[in-house]
Symmetry: C3
Subunit: 482 residues, 3 copies
Amino acid sequence: MAMISENFLLQSVAARRLYHGYAADLPILDFHGHLTAKVIAENPRFRDLSEICLEGDHYKWRVMRANGVPERYCTGDACPFDKFTAWAKTVPYTLRNPLFHWTHLELARYFDIHELLNEKTAPAIWQRANERLQSDALTPRGILSKFRVSALCTTEDPLASLEFHEQIARSGFATRVFPAFRPDNALRTHDPRAFNTWADELAACTGLNIADLSDFLEALRLRHDEFHRHGCRLSDHGLNHCYAEPCTPREAQSLFAALRAGGHLSSAESAKLNSHLMIFFGRIDAEKGWTKQLHLGAQRNLNSRMLELLGPDTGFDAMGDWIQATSLSGYLNALAREDALPKMILFNVNPSDNYLFASIAGCFQEASSTAGKIQFDSGWWFLDQKEGIELQLNALSNCGLLSRFVGMVTDSRSFMSFPRHEYFRRVLCNLMGDEIEKGLLPDDDELIGTMIRKICFDNSAEYLALPTVVDSTPFAAAEQRS
Amino acid sequence: MAMISENFLLQSVAARRLYHGYAADLPILDFHGHLTAKVIAENPRFRDLSEICLEGDHYKWRVMRANGVPERYCTGDACPFDKFTAWAKTVPYTLRNPLFHWTHLELARYFDIHELLNEKTAPAIWQRANERLQSDALTPRGILSKFRVSALCTTEDPLASLEFHEQIARSGFATRVFPAFRPDNALRTHDPRAFNTWADELAACTGLNIADLSDFLEALRLRHDEFHRHGCRLSDHGLNHCYAEPCTPREAQSLFAALRAGGHLSSAESAKLNSHLMIFFGRIDAEKGWTKQLHLGAQRNLNSRMLELLGPDTGFDAMGDWIQATSLSGYLNALAREDALPKMILFNVNPSDNYLFASIAGCFQEASSTAGKIQFDSGWWFLDQKEGIELQLNALSNCGLLSRFVGMVTDSRSFMSFPRHEYFRRVLCNLMGDEIEKGLLPDDDELIGTMIRKICFDNSAEYLALPTVVDSTPFAAAEQRS
Amino acid sequence: MAMISENFLLQSVAARRLYHGYAADLPILDFHGHLTAKVIAENPRFRDLSEICLEGDHYKWRVMRANGVPERYCTGDACPFDKFTAWAKTVPYTLRNPLFHWTHLELARYFDIHELLNEKTAPAIWQRANERLQSDALTPRGILSKFRVSALCTTEDPLASLEFHEQIARSGFATRVFPAFRPDNALRTHDPRAFNTWADELAACTGLNIADLSDFLEALRLRHDEFHRHGCRLSDHGLNHCYAEPCTPREAQSLFAALRAGGHLSSAESAKLNSHLMIFFGRIDAEKGWTKQLHLGAQRNLNSRMLELLGPDTGFDAMGDWIQATSLSGYLNALAREDALPKMILFNVNPSDNYLFASIAGCFQEASSTAGKIQFDSGWWFLDQKEGIELQLNALSNCGLLSRFVGMVTDSRSFMSFPRHEYFRRVLCNLMGDEIEKGLLPDDDELIGTMIRKICFDNSAEYLALPTVVDSTPFAAAEQRS
């Protein structure tokens, strides 16, 4: 029997009715991920299964390493077929890891392959998948169309030129591709060299002289405006924890001046300046009706030897256990006090903090353009698996309104990840169906099914209010500059 | 089909046998809550469904806000029917939140209404419920009788006059209503103005001049004595975390003197003085055989704008993630060292700390007037729902003795909350019944059913040893003074 | 019906097939525990059920205390039968605590007794069990043979003479008994008196003069070598949290000199020196291909009055909530940077940190003599029960490779604990069988059963690479010295 059957993950009759009746056919609104606009714009064919399945996928590299596979088959110079074979040998060892499910879901949905992947089946699967990769259906754009991705947000530094976003928009491609504004580099105030290099590039990009803090903020605001003109409606921050230190404008100016002059800020000083910057970022999002995403709690680049060898985002990150409550609630409160709290989506990577985040979100809800102003979002990174998704759904349900949840994102660097939406939807329907059958939810498919449709698509569409038509005028201007 | 069926939450035949055979008919001993003695003494009729269902209920306000309902329909000046309608519109959005179950359990148990509440059913439900509220069965006392509440503890500042407790006792009302002693104001040592205002009132109330620490402790002890004469057998503290800083009597005197003179204590000094005070509170509870409750880990009043507008206890609290272990075990150890450890009930609001609390409780058990001297108690606040209750029951079971558990409290400001005992009992019976059917517990209803009866009532009755007859003499004296 | 049926804990047909077909008949490799080699060498009969069941078993003492049993029946001078009776009276109160299952599993497996233990059945069980304890089958060695313990590691201070390990090896006893090297005393750098007493003993034991840090490390290395000659292949550390403070060799020397001269190190200094020592311990394990165990997160001896009365390891420990991530990842990184990372097994006692530990382990995997170099191990101490085991299995599965897991250890002071391996195996098979039946795992008994066999035995045998033949030469030398 194939791993991925029609009713995969759906343990009850009600779950099956809900999934097939309400969730299966929905389009995807993938509002957070790490695909690149360039690839979507240029739409090259994938060379082979190794490229589409393994390149850049640190989830897979991690378990290969845990399985004793030498690095040359992960990120190294082994040939594509050997890398794929090393992965195929590892797959049977991934039982109970989400990669076992994801892998077979990917093979089924992209290639209509239903065998289990292992050393023995690898050569035939390699050949069959590579053949299919030659069809237009499996180019980047083919994949976006196949999975009915209505809109997609890429994660961009404020300096990103956005030319490829323009190109895609101009092409009339059905999937809308928007940038999300992620100014992590503006917060590297603990590293004067990196900060100033980036500030210099920001100056060049905006044509401003960045001498003091107000110049810096003005330049950031120009980029924020420019992103807005390209349809951007989300910002994003990847932080260990929030910043909520008291910092007067004068202190901030003085700290910025010291930093801009190449000086080192102490850890407390850097936190103060970042607190000031985060308030600024909150304000400009609120002014434009954007949604701010906070990705909190990941410990990055723990293995310094491998960082030197391979760079970041290669599978050497983990969750952390920082104290989160005071700084997160302090940040939200600081914005709420001045009526500058934008819509906000909180992502948490340590499952021990799920209830904490969900309960804090509940303290800052307010009547807004849309309900559910402060969101506690789906199982992120290590939590993007059945147990992690269920834990998040339960924490959110018990401390807030699941019905207002804006739902799943792939958060992936791979074009193979769209079935994670299917995975999430099956897990969600399974949970709800089980509770219908137990009498914990009303036995009313229309009521529950409608809620599921909203979580899987409608809520995010309404909440994010992404532009449906993007004005092409600013694109030309931006193109000239970049 | 009605949401609240006979076997609601009871998934197995054994669970149904246990609930209906052992738990359903038990009276309620509600040893911690926030009802006011005045209302029970005066026993006014509820004006309408909005008053009994929504006033003071910050659980409901929170989800209304999360649903985008403007504040005027929560705490504001909208008319009662409009507020109720706003709530009714929100109810279908609370699926999977405990409020969905609670609400329909309340409608069923108070009003014999079995429809789902929503915008469409709201007007008829409003009318029908309001009619029933006119009967004596649904006055405050009617409700206490209907739910067979044998005793109830209210949560009182040491300055509370207790006149209404006397009045109730004198009236011969079947439900015994006792105060619990909650001296949170004595620990506001970080706020000299608030502290001294309260200390002045304590002086006035006791007729003592509070010049130094020993006066302050003497005054507190007088109030503790007075509460004891009114049948009080429980104290309570709401703290972020325990205090267990070393502090000599001399240091404490000096810190108190500085504070009493209007000086500001540093955060470390305040913690030292509070540590000293908490030891004192432990001692006087131990001397009188009282039970001390510790409510640890809540972050309060996170939204300062809303605090200014609405005051505390309006739905802007969350859980925290303070380090708990060292201070909690340090406090228990300090009392145990001097053989002054009272019976103690630990309440925890962040589910990540359940196992921690349960394992710490196990280090301070000792032969006592009753078994289970140090209790780890039921899912509190955000945890008072099916998952939260199950997590607490599992942590307690695995690290201690569930059989000695003193069980559920409503911890509510609302007369509508008594069905939460039914909810807890159903969850408990469901858990135990499931394990009987799986062979994890002996298939012996008498054994398991007896344990359930104890958890739901007998254990708390025996453990707390509340007075069954209260001497009325001191009441008269207290009345003259107040 | 007996509590411990053939299919105890096995809820599905697949679980039963897996357990009986793959797991039930496996030998045991118990690589971490607290049995003493002396008892195995001398092999005395157990006096009575009280001795084998209650002596040294602080798990049982804890719940007896929680049940109100006076201390004299736990650790005191009550007679063995009275102690056993006090325990028997407590057993019915342990429903849902792992002791309820463990106790009846022990009675069934050691004595073929299938009644529930309680006050009424206690006398007959006492008599019947005591009779059976007179047979050779229930001596220490009889028990090891009965449970097919292929190898066992005892936990030893570096000063331990190892004479009994030699004696056992020489005797040709089928169960191999190896020491594990646990230098906790070398890390007591916060306590100059204890540290120097131990350093003096280390000097005496090795014949070295320990004047400076290099002498100290040399002496530790001599003991490490000596342990290696006795077949030791594991080290172990019991720590609140890891140490990963920057500390130059010069700083370490200077701190050591101050300490060795009787000086007090500050808490920060002690952490620095310990960081340096832990790097040393990592290096020597890596050099010899040993496996390092880290037992992190337990708070010990919380009840100081009882510590004074009864000493450590008497049931007054709990879990802690220290910040773990930075120091754990910092330690692993420091070793990995210099290519001195040994195989490592991480044990965590606070279930809130399961995912954290599992995700950190995944950052330090590398191709090695065996796959799964950094292990996140089984539910330890308070987590050694069904829920705790399942939580660990899920965290490991979701963040790493369950298939490479080295599995269960008893970690016990009692000869009655070997059925915990059966308990673990049943829980594991139940989890996997359930997922086969739900379609979450392939319906392939050979695939899943093989994985189960590896987790239950083969993985640890391959990973640890314990010697199968121990060279007896060094034994003679060691014997002369000791």
